[in-house]
């Protein structure tokens, strides 16, 4: 039954079961994973788009919701993302372009002078999980680099992260240059020392204290 199989795949995604060889999660040890099952589904003739929508997205959003409710942890989500990747490997050839299914592009980086990237990486992960293409520029990113990225990805939104009170200030310049180079670009900022007031002051379009907020913002504006 194809519904059964799709359910199984969704479970593999949600539980982060990559393939038969993977020891995670321990209670699924030895069983087939997303890798094998997606191949099987294609072999059975289930359309790629159906697998994507009824299994992969279902599994990812299940884990995403659990994460929002604090029922699971980041590694769970990361494992799910790995299972997703393994699955997408088989599906990608069936879509015109790997990007066709993206809801939009999100350029993210930690601003100049700042090396903190754990928060930024989490944001990137959640946004990616939300169906966006993420261009991660890394840490200590100059305003100019952001501008280049925006030019290369017309229509993309931008996320800036800063954890230091002394680097927050670099956001202002970045926002300015990005908006000059590509008017209409939406910029969202975040990081522990930031506030809505600061975001307003420097002319950013949004501030969010967490990745979920960033995703909601993108969903609203894309």
């Amino acid at each position: 039954m194809s519904t059964e199989l799709l359910k199984e795949i969704a479970t593999c995604i949600e539980r982060g079961k990559v393939n038969a060889a993977s020891p995670y999660p321990p209670d699924m040890k030895g069983k087939e994973g997303a890798d094998e099952l997606v191949k099987k589904a294609l072999d059975q003739g289930i359309p790629a788009s159906e697998i994507l929508e009824k299994a992969l997205i279902v599994g990812m959003s299940a884990i995403g919701q659990k994460f929002s409710r604090n029922e699971v942890f980041v590694p769970d989500v990361l494992m799910a993302a790995k299972a997703m990747q393994a699955a997408m490997k088989h599906l990608r050839p069936f879509f015109d372009s790997g990007e066709a299914k993206h809801r939009g592009t999100f350029i993210i980086g930690t601003v100049q002078g700042d090396l903190h990237d754990i928060g930024k990486n989490l944001v990137a992960m959640v946004i990616e999980g939300g169906g966006y293409k993420v261009v991660d520029l890394g840490v200590d990113v100059s305003p100019e680099k952001f501008v280049d990225a925006v030019k290369q990805n017309p229509g993309a939104s931008v996320g800036l992260s800063a954890l230091l009170t002394t680097t927050m200030i670099n956001m202002e310049k970045t926002v300015k240059l990005v908006k000059e180079a590509m008017p209409g670009t939406k910029v969202i900022v975040g990081g522990a020392p930031l506030t809505q007031e600061f975001a307003d002051k420097i002319g950013a379009d949004a501030y969010s204290p967490d990745p979920q907020g960033a995703l909601e913002f993108l969903n609203r504006t894309n």
Binding site: Y24, N70, M79, I118, N121, L122, L164
Partner: protein, 454 residues
């Protein structure tokens, strides 16, 4: 290099605030670890400040004001001894002359208050900017020489030198997010430890040259990060608890290289260092809520010799500017600790501080005196960096499992499964060290083995 094979404090009962087997005179007449606990105050520029050529005069001025405000409050309240920690921000290390200016202006403020009866010591904590290059070139980059130059330049004005070095972080960060216990052990036990040996030999010799004290190097970017992530429910608290224990194995390297304490506040592995090496330690907890939330606010006080607020941005409150306010709070905490010692009640108070946190937090459990002794013993049971980090991890997991079984510490349902995962994850480091390198180099390709002498 010295390795410890026995504990300076081997009985849980002897692990108490205010006393350490090897007290340190941080400046003439100001001895830490000899019976009294003192505040350690840390403050930083207001949110949104810029540190640049254009603003350095203003930045220096603000640092002077922050120090003077705190010293004035000390004079008013009759606080005779405390430590001011200036934790450099990035730019101050990247431009060592800026860091030097900040050190100097702080020293000058301190000197102005000497004859008002306030004798403050200055801890200069250099920022580890080596991490600016990705993957970091910990031994060969310009950043490495800037860090060392900063130590040289600040030493004349400081009493205590410290850093929170970041070696191994490029592996630790992803390992943390994956809750890969073996990756954490490898990052801290192999990479961070080797890097600290490289760095601390140099720091200790700079300190010696200037007749200053080589303080210590807390695993902030590791254990503290883990705690933050656990606070935000990104990773399980049981995992963060384990990271703390492993961090102790790493941070001991500074002491092996000649650091004498007082150890840095930021990662809470100090108690193990006190037990193993007998050095005095700075700790932070509830009165560092300004810097971060925690589940270990009281237990952290139970064996501190310096009691710190970690970091507060300069803001105006009704009761004065934030540094003054924090100093006053820390002082009251210290008064209570010191009073208990005067009345021979220090163990009663310590036990209350411990038990008030341990019941609801395994992160707190790691700092309970019995746990500290057990983890410390595990660490000194091997001379091999990786092996001792591994043993710390195994012991930490065992302590947690026992507490869960006995019901002495509560663990959320959703975390229980992680204890097994953590044990599983240790497998790759349980084989020999050489193989571990290959294993993790494959898994976390973003580190350069030669930068760790591997």
């Amino acid at each position: 290099m010295k390795k410890f094979s026995s504990l300076a404090i081997s009985k849980a009962d002897e692990l108490v605030f205010g006393v350490s087997p090897n007290p340190v005179e941080v400046k003439p007449g100001f001895v830490v670890g000899a019976g009294e606990t003192f505040p350690e105050l840390n403050y930083i520029l207001p949110h949104g400040s810029e540190v640049s050529h254009a603003t350095m005069d203003q930045v220096e001025h603000v640092y002077g004001e922050m120090a003077k405000g705190a010293l004035e409050r000390a004079a008013r309240l009759g606080i005779e001894h405390f430590v001011i920690e200036v934790e450099q921000v990035f730019e101050m290390t990247a431009y060592p002359e800026w860091g030097e200016r900040i050190a100097r202006v702080t020293r000058e403020a301190i000197q102005q208050y000497e004859d008002k009866g306030v004798h403050a010591a200055l801890r200069m904590t250099i920022a580890d900017i080596r991490d600016r290059v990705r993957p970091p070139r910990n031994r060969t980059s310009t950043e490495t020489s800037l860090v060392l130059e900063s130590f040289e330049r600040c030493a004349p004005y400081a009493d205590i030198l410290a850093i929170e070095s970041t070696g191994g972080k490029e592996v630790h960060d992803p390992a943390l997010l994956m809750c890969d216990s073996g990756g954490v052990v490898f990052a801290l036990g192999e990479l961070a430890s080797r890097d600290m040996a490289f760095l601390w030999e140099k720091i200790v010799s700079i300190a010696k040259k200037h007749g200053k004290i080589a303080g210590g190097d807390a695993a902030c970017g590791f254990a503290n990060t883990a705690m933050q992530l656990a606070n935000k429910r990104m990773i399980p608290t049981v995992f963060a608890a384990m990271v703390r224990a492993v961090g102790a194995a790493r941070s001991l390297v500074a002491v092996e290289c000649g650091a004498t304490g007082p150890d840095k506040d930021c990662a809470y592995e100090g108690p193990m260092l006190k037990a193993i090496a007998g050095i005095p330690i700075a700790m932070e907890g509830k009165s560092a809520a300004c810097a971060h939330s925690s589940r270990i606010g009281n237990v952290a006080m139970s064996c501190c010799d310096l009691w710190s607020n970690e970091s507060v941005p300069y803001v105006r409150l009704f009761g004065g500017y934030s540094p003054e306010v924090c100093l006053e709070e820390l002082w009251y905490d210290c008064k209570l600790l010191n009073e208990s010692r005067r009345h021979g009640q220090e163990r009663v108070l310590r036990d209350l501080l411990v038990s008030s946190d341990v019941r609801t937090s395994v992160e707190a459990l790691m700092l309970a005196p019995e746990s500290v002794i057990r983890i410390s013993r595990a660490i000194i049971s091997s001379e091999d960096y990786l092996e001792r980090a591994l043993r710390a991890a195994v012991e930490a997991i065992a302590i947690i499992e026992e507490a869960v079984a006995n019901g002495t510490s509560q663990v959320p349902e959703s975390e229980l499964v992680w204890l097994d995962q953590m044990k599983l994850g240790l497998e790759p480091v349980q084989s020999s060290s050489g193989k571990a390198v290959d294993h993790y180099a494959a898994f976390y390709p973003d580190f350069i083995p030669s930068e760790y002498g591997l």
